[in-house]
Assembly symmetry: C2
Homo-oligomer: 211 residues x 2
DNA sequence: AAAAAATGAATGAACGTTCATTTACTTGAA
DNA sequence: TTCAAGTAAATGAACGTTCATTCATTTTTT
């Protein structure tokens, strides 16, 4: 008897939900968003076709919940890093960057899912809203930290928002290249490039060798 | 009688081809890749459904040719900038960045098309190959220019490839934010952020005010 | 007149959704 | 504890729709 069968109803329901979402992610990564079908998702999850509609009402619902799932995962990572007492804004930034290129975040399946939704964002306001919210949460926090560094050090002519947007966009662009050209842009290289960005902007606080 | 009808056969054929591709781009941007249909594309182009299959053999063929079309457009832009006699590597880089955030390149319809293909790239080797080729052409050129600046100036510990990848990824990430959050990342801001990246890395060659 | 370009209705495969039915779990009285 | 009644979860075949593709026919160009 599997562990599944020993759970009670509520847990089983939640587990099926998550299993369907994880299968959706796998299908998006392996087949592409435009080839995802309810049949392939439910088959991968090992459940009947009807169940997906029972839990998510429709395919659209399943995709919306999948985006919400990866969104929440990322946001809770942000929160977790912020809640840890950091030694300094610089360390906080470095922790953030380190996490953004950890295997939890920057693995190709998850990146493929993000880019699949980004690729549809222009024509789907629902997707765009969730994606831009993730973007704001990340940028706003980074901007605060950059502002602290600017205030501490002597960095004339620096605009915290521009620098924050630069870091966040650099990270997203590095993710793209990890997806498209993984042999050229490895996780290590991507991380190094992002740290270099910080080191070049804040030489008094962060060195190129930082990890 | 329209201009179309006055052309000869070969020109008319080429024009229909391009019109179908442009309609495909419009449909990808407006409806999303996963909602593009042969019916919507041919209706937008004002031709019969059969014609698309006549010219492109299949929907897959039409999408492949659409990607090739935007690829060729970008690459010829690269070539054009490179063929112009530039005063210096720094000017060349600035010209490149300026073009990357011109309305020709960084308009939301075209960006939506790029991200639609990027979003499917993991599961479609054909797309990935074309996309990574564009990436290489861009990065290689930027890397050469960065190397020239490093050789000219005194920039200890600089790795041209890392800096080049940084610039290219920053540009791509800025494109993403222009697509997802255009009210936050305008064309002007994106351009400024990219120039700042160059100015911060090469302070002896490029100033923040550069355009 | 011959060749090329273009049409669009017809075809059949693929897909999302539904719902009558079955299976599994929970509850509470004996 | 036991068991029956009630509730929730899950099934999957059937249905109707959508879509890409085809091809006999028409229109346009050479």
């Amino acid at each position: 008897m599997t562990q599944t069968k020993q759970r009670n109803g509520a847990d089983a329901k939640a587990e099926k939900r998550e299993r369907l979402i994880r299968s959706t992610m796998k299908c998006i990564a392996n087949q592409g968003m435009s080839s995802v079908t309810m049949a392939s998702v439910t088959q991968d999850a090992g459940v009947s076709m009807g169940l997906a509609n029972l839990h998510f009402k429709s395919k659209e619902g399943l995709l919306n919940e999948t985006l919400a799932y990866v969104h929440d995962q990322y946001v809770s990572g942000l929160e977790r890093i912020a809640s840890k007492q950091q030694n300094s804004p610089a360390d906080h930034l470095l922790e953030q960057v380190k996490w953004d290129f950890s295997s939890k975040v920057a693995n190709r399946e998850l990146l493929a899912v993000w880019f699949a939704f980004w690729g549809e964002a222009k024509s789907r306001p629902t997707y765009r809203q969730v994606c831009s919210e993730r973007d704001s949460l990340m940028t706003d926090r980074v901007q605060q930290l950059c502002q602290q560094l600017i205030d501490e050090g002597d960095y004339p002519g620096y605009d915290a928002e521009d620098i924050a947007i630069g870091l966040c966009c650099l990270i997203e662009g590095l993710w793209l290249d990890m997806l498209i050209a993984p042999q050229k842009v490895s996780r290590e290289r991507a991380h190094r490039v992002a740290v270099n960005y910080l080191a070049t902007n804040f030489p008094k606080h962060i060195s190129r060798a930082s990890k």
